[in-house]
């Protein structure tokens, strides 16, 4: 116990962390001059390093956070390393673009220093994702992991950083805040050296990002309705929903929250859900689920990411060991109904509606409570319904006849693959799409006179940036024998003698 009470005007570690931003700033300055070949070499190496450690970090993350499923995390880690890079390998956010017809030259300008907040639910996948996006766009990145996953994330960032620097990236372009705390994160978000905040996490941290005064890309919570109408392929819908809901024990913000099913097919769906590995609760069991898993109408935070069988045991239900999802029917979508809200555990609400119109209304009601701007899902074979549903629900992505957890994230659809779902104006975010590399780079547009008589210049083959040297921490230990910048010693000595006399006169003003 210290005899001196160390009071801090700023949170512990803030000065050190501000120094990290400054170091990142230096790295970003240099990185912005890299060409596409150098950048590709670096991303190649980092994606490979990420994939190589996908399993180890999946295990570590589950162990450290107590959430999720190792094999699913492995899938996500690979999806956010090699597969992500495969998707963007041929994209170029680095080279100038020449729009000769428009007489515009476009030069990519990276944000600079990205301050990235990563969640405890998808710790490694999000770290991989944000680091790779930063590198593809020549940004430096400082990762602040959720305190609940800080050890595994810090280790992963170090591995990616080492791989990047070994492949020629500027020293310090990938760093991690090893001891994150809320006051420290707030200090870093408001630091003037932070060029953009990319916040994935709870609502509080996202709102703080927007309050910071710095540019921010923050995303809101999800609350995904899965509407199954009477025209759907019920068996396929049940399988897709159970697979999706059980994925990583439902800790993604894209996991379904509740099924809305037309009365006509409800019993059939319930049977198919059972076949697909869900346990559909009786009314008595639903009461026990409410009492034990949602006491006082709130989800128990200590159960986030636990498996369906653990949850069943917690609620005192007897279910088969193969159960992947607990389905809890309820009667009305209202704000105080916890089964109609986002649940980061494999409990799925189910509400019956008399017709399509009522189903769309129920989905709207769910999204009024929470999750606006995020995702919704529909299982239907009727195009008109799909379109009306899409136009009615206040979300920016609707997945069709596919599990939403991997559908909205761009794995099972052709949406941009992402770990950061933009919730747009509905969800109080500056980003309405899935976060992808192009959101982290601005373009300087060099525009010529539109008058046809004024010619455009030929920029083909020209490089806008010159990269003289690539400093690294290793090379900062310059050679032990610095090269002399002075002429031969003897000549120098003569010169010096002569000058000594002059300067002494000068200095003593004799």
């Amino acid at each position: 116990m210290s005899v001196i009470e160390l009071s801090h005007r700023e949170p512990p570690g803030a000065a050190r962390a501000a120094m990290m931003l400054q170091r990142a700033h230096w790295a970003a300055e240099l990185f912005a001059r890299y060409d596409i070949e150098r950048v590709r070499r670096i991303v190649d190496a980092v994606a490979a390093a990420g994939e190589a450690h996908a399993e180890r970090y999946a295990e570590w993350a589950v162990e450290e956070t107590g959430m999720g499923v190792v094999e699913h995390k492995v899938l996500k880690n690979v999806a956010c390393s090699r597969e992500l890079w495969d998707r963007y390998r041929d994209h170029d956010y680095v080279s100038p673009r020449i729009l000769a017809d428009d007489k515009v030259l476009e030069l990519p300008r990276p944000a600079g220093v990205i301050f990235a907040l990563t969640p405890t639910t998808n710790p490694i996948a999000t770290v991989y994702f944000k680091v790779l996006l930063a590198l593809m766009t020549r940004n430096a990145i400082v990762v602040s992991p959720h305190p609940g996953a800080k050890a595994v994330c810090a280790d992963a960032v170090r591995v990616l950083s080492d791989a990047a620097v070994a492949a020629g990236a500027p020293d310090g372009c990938i760093q991690v805040v090893e001891e994150p705390s809320i006051p420290l994160i707030e200090a870093l978000m408001t630091d003037q050296t932070t060029d953009v905040i990319v916040a994935t996490g709870g609502n509080a941290v996202v709102r703080a990002a927007y309050r910071s005064g710095n540019p921010a890309i923050g995303v809101g919570p999800g609350n995904v309705p899965a509407f199954v109408d009477a025209t759907a392929d019920i068996a396929a819908a049940a399988r897709a929903i159970v697979d999706s809901k059980s994925f990583d024990n439902s800790i993604l913000c894209t996991n379904e929250s509740a099924i809305i099913v037309e009365e006509e097919v409800a019993e059939q769906l319930i049977r198919e859900l059972g076949r697909a590995g869900a346990h559909v609760c009786t009314p008595e069991e639903v009461e026990r689920v409410r009492e034990h898993l949602f006491p006082d109408h709130r989800m128990r935070l200590d159960l986030i990411g636990k498996s369906a069988t653990v949850l069943a045991e917690e609620a005192g239900l007897t279910v088969p060991a193969t159960t992947r999802v607990l389905v809890a029917p309820f009667s009305l979508v209202v704000p105080e109904e916890p089964l109609a809200r986002e649940k980061l555990l494999p409990v799925l609400g189910l509400v019956r509606v008399p017709n399509t119109r009522a189903g769309i209304s129920a989905a709207q009601a769910m999204l009024r409570a929470t999750g606006a701007g995020h995702s919704a899902s529909i299982h239907s074979t009727r195009a008109q319904t799909i379109m009306e549903y899409g136009a009615a629900v206040k979300v920016l992505r609707v997945t069709v006849n596919v599990g939403n957890s991997l559908g909205s994230a761009g794995v099972l659809t052709n949406l941009a693959p992402t770990m950061t779902i933009g919730t747009g104006f509905y969800g109080r975010s500056s980003l309405g799409e899935n976060l992808e590399p192009r959101h982290l780079v601005n373009w300087t547009r060099v525009a010529y006179n539109a008058d046809r008589s004024v010619p455009f210049d030929e920029f083909g083959g020209m490089q806008p940036w010159r990269l003289e040297t690539v400093p690294t921490a290793a090379s900062s230990a310059a050679p032990a024998d610095p090269a002399p910048a002075t002429p031969a010693t003897d000549v120098l000595r003569e010169e010096v003698r002569r000058l000594i006399l002059e300067e002494l006169k000068e200095l003593t003003r004799q």
């Binding site: 005899v3 001196i4 009470e5 160390l6 009071s7 801090h8 005007r9 000065a15 050190r16 120094m19 990290m20 400054q22 170091r23 700033h25 230096w26 790295a27 300055e29 240099l30 020293d171 310090g172 050296t193 003289e468 040297t469 400093p471 690294t472 921490a473 090379s475 900062s476 230990a477 310059a478 032990a480 024998d481 610095p482 090269a483 002399p484 910048a485 002075t486 010693t489 120098l492 000595r493 010096v496 000058l499 000594i500 002059e502 300067e503 002494l504 000068e506 200095l507 003593t508």
Partner: protein, 430 residues
């Protein structure tokens, strides 16, 4: 009216007049005559403001004292907290903060280092080093470098230019031998008689304008010291604390000194102390008569606490990385300026952020200094070689301020060149 709360002045002129009357008339006038009418007022980071409100970027840093910036917030907080418990302490008793800092310093130094003796300033620490060497070798003679500077205290002054020793009738040429820098033959001649207690050298001589040691020079001097049984004292006052990109310049050079002297930046300009780190061999008097050197303010405990923080900051990996970026950017920027004025700006001496800019005129650096000052940068010429401008940026600079410094430097160098040429023409015409 300039009211500073604790005191006030009617005007800047009034301040300068009172400075002449009550402080130092020659020094006050020297700067006015040199065109540097600076009275430093507010300070923050690598900036300070003249009394008249002019903003200046500090590239002098009082020889590295402000390595981490003026009034570094971490150091202010450290000192304020230390004051809740400590004062300067008592110089007779085993002391909490002195011991803690000594242990921390020994850990950063070369493996042969064992103990720390404290002074209140760099000069005193040099005196301690020289006294320690004399005790260890039981000889009086000290070898230093011509044009070197190690402080103005009683013994230290003898190692430097006689301008400062003769003034006070303190020159003892029989005890102090000086040899040219980078001249191994002269060094060997000075040591051959085996009557020398120690060779004292700045790792890169600051006041001489940072001439870089020739490849292998420092290591060869160390070998000569071993061969002729004399001690090597490394004066790391200006080259320590990451300024060369490593914690100590002498470690970067791969030399294990017998004594290492640290000052200035170790307390970040907050609460001055200086340190003399010694090997086991040089610790003898500390076992024979520990009261041999007493200094009330030496190793003041408030300063020790701040120093611990300075060492921690300098040891951060972020700092190492930044020093390299800063040095690299200056190297590129200065060479670009040199391409414009190849006949005027004739040399760049650089090791990390320790830099000397060489101009092709006997007092070229004084001209550049004047124009830099007029353009918002304070950098000082080398007292003992006024062709050379000491260019000493801090180790926590960001890219924007570095670019601003380079912009201002380019203009100032150009204007100084124009003045030197017109001066030359005027001389020819006359």
């Amino acid at each position: 009216m300039y009211d500073y709360g604790f005191f006030s002045y009617e005007s800047k002129e009034d301040m300068l007049e009172r400075s002449r009357a009550f402080w130092n008339p020659d020094k006050t006038d020297f700067w006015q005559d040199a065109g540097i009418d600076l009275v430093i007022d507010r300070r923050e980071g690598y900036l300070f403001w003249d009394m008249a409100g002019r903003r200046l970027i500090d590239l002098h840093l009082n020889g590295g004292t402000y390595n981490l910036g003026h009034r570094n917030p971490e150091l202010i907080a450290t000192l304020e907290q230390a004051m809740q418990h400590f004062d300067i302490g008592n110089h007779h008793f085993p002391a909490l903060a002195r011991t803690a800092l000594a242990e921390a310093l020994v850990k950063t130094a070369s493996p042969n280092m064992r103990r720390v003796i404290y002074g209140s300033g760099g000069g005193e620490a040099i005196d301690i080093a020289l006294k320690t060497a004399r005790h260890t070798k039981q000889r009086r003679k000290i070898v230093s470098i011509i044009k070197s500077y190690h402080g103005h205290t009683g013994i230290a002054v003898g190692t430097g230019d006689e301008r400062f020793s003769k003034l006070f009738l303190s020159d003892h040429p029989e005890e102090f031998v000086q040899v040219p820098f980078n001249d191994l033959n002269a060094m060997e001649d000075a040591l051959r008689a085996r009557d020398v207690a120690a060779v004292i050298m700045e790792t890169i001589p600051a006041t001489y304008g940072f001439p870089l040691p020739a490849p292998g020079y420092l290591q060869a001097v160390k070998r000569l010291c071993e061969e002729y049984d004399t001690l090597y004292i490394a004066d790391e006052v200006q080259t320590g604390l990451m300024r060369t990109g490593e914690m100590w310049g002498i470690s970067k050079a791969g030399v294990e000194p017998d004594i290492m002297v640290i000052g200035k930046g170790i307390t970040g300009g907050m609460y001055p102390i200086a340190c003399c780190v010694v090997s086991e061999e040089c610790s003898a008097w500390l076992k024979e008569d520990g009261f041999g050197h007493i200094s009330t303010g030496g190793g003041a405990e408030l300063g020790c606490v701040v120093s611990l923080k300075v060492l921690e900051i300098c040891g951060r990996p972020e700092v190492r990385s930044m020093v390299h970026y800063i040095a690299e950017r200056f190297q590129q920027g200065l060479h670009q300026i040199q391409e414009i004025y190849p006949d005027w700006f004739v040399g760049i001496r650089q090791d990390g952020v320790v830099m000397g800019l060489e101009f092709n005129h006997p007092v070229g650096a004084k001209l550049v200094m004047k124009h830099l000052y007029a353009h918002g940068v304070w950098a000082i010429f080398s007292t003992l070689d006024p062709r050379i401008l000491q260019f000493k940026p801090g180790i926590l600079l960001g890219p924007e301020l570095v670019d601003e410094i380079l912009d201002r430097t380019e203009v100032a160098i150009g204007k100084a060149y124009a003045e030197a040429r017109s001066g030359a023409r005027a001389a020819v015409t006359a």
